[in-house]
Point group: C2
Chain length 480, copies 2
């Protein structure tokens, strides 16, 4: 294991986080609402720690291979959480370092679960930093899932090797650099477009930036206590719904579209399935909640927003879906597990994986009826290799195992059945709000410390496609 | 498709059910409590329908192959439910035919979910018939899972081809006859032994017979409203706990043990895992419920009984586990899904399948760390074939899909979240009681009709190892 190389990359990550903090620092200087020192200390910590690490591991040679890749990715998100939490804790708005860490990990994993009871009490710098952690996390995820994981063979992401834009060199580092630039260009453009569109509707530059950052990352942090409901504006709802759906789409498709190949959307089986699930869920939910809304327009507005928010695992709210009928809540719960497309900033198990799993099961039926037939599973017209299938099945098994064990522990901590299970799902799928006492009108402040730590773990496991974290924690990884 | 052969076999099944009804008929004649005519009508219906079918399909030739096998098994359980329900409905103790059908299917699938509010109001004949449906269902299941399914290639049961006792001829029919006799001998012996042991403790012949029938089938119907709690006897609890665990073990192992090879128990990986899960769950539950019991003896008594009852999917109660802490209820919920060993009368996904799925996931971790290594999955020291793995994975996916869709429909019918989901799990895993309003101290009477019909379907799907029913329902099956 080339630990030096891993540390070298991590040090760059820390320095990047330190530099990113200059933005909220500037905002806090502009608004003068008291969080300036918190960011100064945060920046100093990140830069000092980063440069010391860089100093010790300056001359790192060698290629980033599988094991280093897993370790780097897991540590990168963990360190980002640890150092990104510094301004939150220093500011005094978070009662403990664990709470600040929970909020930051929730940001970098684009989850959006919050321990804050009164969000609007926070100064502007901290609010911006909250949304920025999500935006930076989203940047990381796009590059991770499109440019790194397919080559590490994680969870069937190999299927996207061909989809990834950029040069097809097998070496990881040049590929990452090249791909990152292309994808981030798209990510930044969409963000700027959403800021503009929200601004046109009359939202302040500050709030539209925060919301755009959280939307493109499918994060869900809002500077308002009532989330998007605070504005009660059909225009904002519509704009954000569209951008949530964009953020939940494979960014490699956006890349292809921007290069003129708009039909790639339609040709992508995952995208078609994603849109079908969205429309199907909207229709079911509109029918099931028809007694709650006076007009079809209102029903469409609230239901499409909520469905997009949950399916893409953003977690914005215009509505407390806790008052929806049980069947609707169950639909939302299942949508939470589905999540967005692979290669998007959305969480969950991903549409592609679930689509392939259903095909997998259906193949067994065919085999039972025609025992001698050879039936292959196709995706995007290509047969799916046994390797990819096995990786996807393993992913699903681990996802369920982590869910089972974690919700048991949450139950042991004294939480009720629906809170225990939905909090774990909401964190593993990187959504944010769950049901019952962690629902959209509540928060995670009341969860016991051990539960918060466990949920941080769940957020990391879900965000880093399960394997990345579990591999690093497995004894096999560390055995010579 | 050889429909004549299927009908021929079904007609024999109906005649068998008609003959079986002579036992409750005799009991109702002995006790004179009014259900005599109901059984007379039941017997007449079964025998007439059976003999008419037999008359029309007398000369059926040919071998029972895959498709005929699936159709026969699915129709056999459905018809048993339809005709077995006749005495229940005629007696007037069930408000509708659907209710009587629910109770009967719950019997033949060894589930034990009941729509009865006052069980003790029923006459003796009906009570015996309730328990007998379970016992007959258990007989069917043992032969199905040990002698038929491994050869139909259902859900990875092929793994047990070598385990099955009897001659190793590949033709199905002679094998079934031979195997059935051996296994039923064991099944009957255990039943008689339990009747004897319960009788020694002072239970009446009638009640000990009913309980022994339900125990060996892991069914859970009791002639008492309070189930086993009615006796409040540590002796009965202990005897029934042991026999539940016996019933949840692969009967092929009992067969080997009775032929002198007692070490086959220890050599069976599934049995070791089954006992480990049992002990592990008992310890966790004892720790989690320690504040509820005065003495360790009491804790051991209630916890081991409840754990065995849920893990083996029997569903007897000595206790309302609805008052246990949430974590304990979650543990029970997860145990429900695990179920007994393959080749037992227990339901659920089966210990073997879950053990193999965990190994499957772990293999992926190994492959990520050592991308070029070939890692095979072993069970009972033999490598598991890709065919078996695929069948098991498909099984799990279908199990989850049926669960998701069914609990959504239950939610649509207006049931609460915990009732919707736990009723579906309790029926799919053939346990009986779930949580909340279908918990051990409640019943299924209040479920809307559509919900009862759906739960009947869930019981059949779970009992017939998922594929058997789904194959028959799939368009592929009926296409030429």
């Amino acid at each position: 294991m080339n630990i030096r190389l891993v540390l070298n990359l991590l040090s760059r990550g820390l320095i990047f986080i330190g530099i990113a903090m200059f933005f909220p620092l500037a905002v806090s200087w502009f608004y003068h609402d008291g969080d300036f020192p918190a960011f100064v200390i945060g920046i100093v910590c990140c830069l000092i720690a980063g440069f010391i690490m860089l100093l010790f591991c300056r001359r790192s040679k060698g290629e980033l291979r599988n094991r280093e890749g897993f370790l780097f990715v897991t540590l990168a998100w963990t360190l980002a959480g640890l150092f990104g939490a510094i301004p939150f804790r220093i500011s005094g708005y978070f009662p403990s370092y664990l709470d600040a860490f929970f909020e930051t990990i929730s940001g970098f994993t684009t989850t959006g679960a919050s321990v804050l009871i009164d969000i609007e009490a926070l100064p502007h710098g901290l609010l911006l930093w909250r949304s920025m952690t999500q935006w930076i996390g989203g940047m990381g995820i796009i590059v991770l899932t499109i440019a790194i994981l397919p080559f590490l063979g994680v969870g069937g992401m190999q299927i996207f090797k061909a989809e990834s834009p950029g040069p097809t060199i097998d070496k990881l580092r040049p590929r990452i650099n090249e791909t990152a630039k292309l994808l981030w260009g798209i990510y930044v453009s969409f963000t700027l477009l959403e800021i503009l569109l929200l601004g046109v509707g009359g939202m302040s530059l500050f709030e539209s930036s925060c919301h755009a950052f959280s939307t493109l990352a499918t994060g869900g942090f809002s500077p308002r206590n009532a989330s998007i409901a605070a504005y009660n504006s059909p225009y904002f709802d519509a704009v954000i719904t569209v951008f949530m759906l964009i953020a939940g789409t494979n960014f490699a498709l956006h890349y292809a579209a921007l290069r003129g190949n708009v039909r790639r959307y339609i040709r992508s089986q995952e995208f078609r399935l994603y849109i079908s699930i969205f429309i199907g869920a909207c229709l079911l939910l509109m029918w099931n909640t028809r007694h709650l809304y006076d007009s079809i327009a209102g029903s469409i507005r609230f239901v499409t927003f909520q469905t997009a928010s949950i399916l893409t695992t953003t977690g914005f709210a215009t509505h407390d879906f806790g008052i929806w009928p049980i069947a609707s809540q169950l639909i939302l719960l299942f949508l939470m597990v589905i999540g967005g497309c692979a290669g998007s900033t959305g969480g969950g198990m991903k549409v592609m994986r679930l689509g392939i799993l259903v095909k997998y099961a259906h193949r067994e039926i065919k085999k039972l009826v025609h025992p001698n037939a050879v039936v292959s599973i196709k995706w995007d017209t290509n047969p799916v290799s046994a390797e990819v299938l096995q990786a996807i099945v393993g992913f699903a098994i681990f996802f369920i195992l982590v869910f089972v064990v974690s919700s048991l522990v949450m139950g042991m901590l004294g939480l009720d059945l629906v809170t225990s299970t939905s909090a774990v799902i909401a964190c593993m799928s990187n959504i944010g709000p769950g049901l019952a006492s962690v629902g959209p009108s509540a928060n995670f402040a009341h969860i016991p410390d051990l539960g918060k730590a466990l949920l941080c773990f769940c957020m990391l496991v879900g965000r880093l496609e399960v394997y990345t974290v579990l591999v690093v924690l497995s004894p096999v990884f560390w055995r010579r």
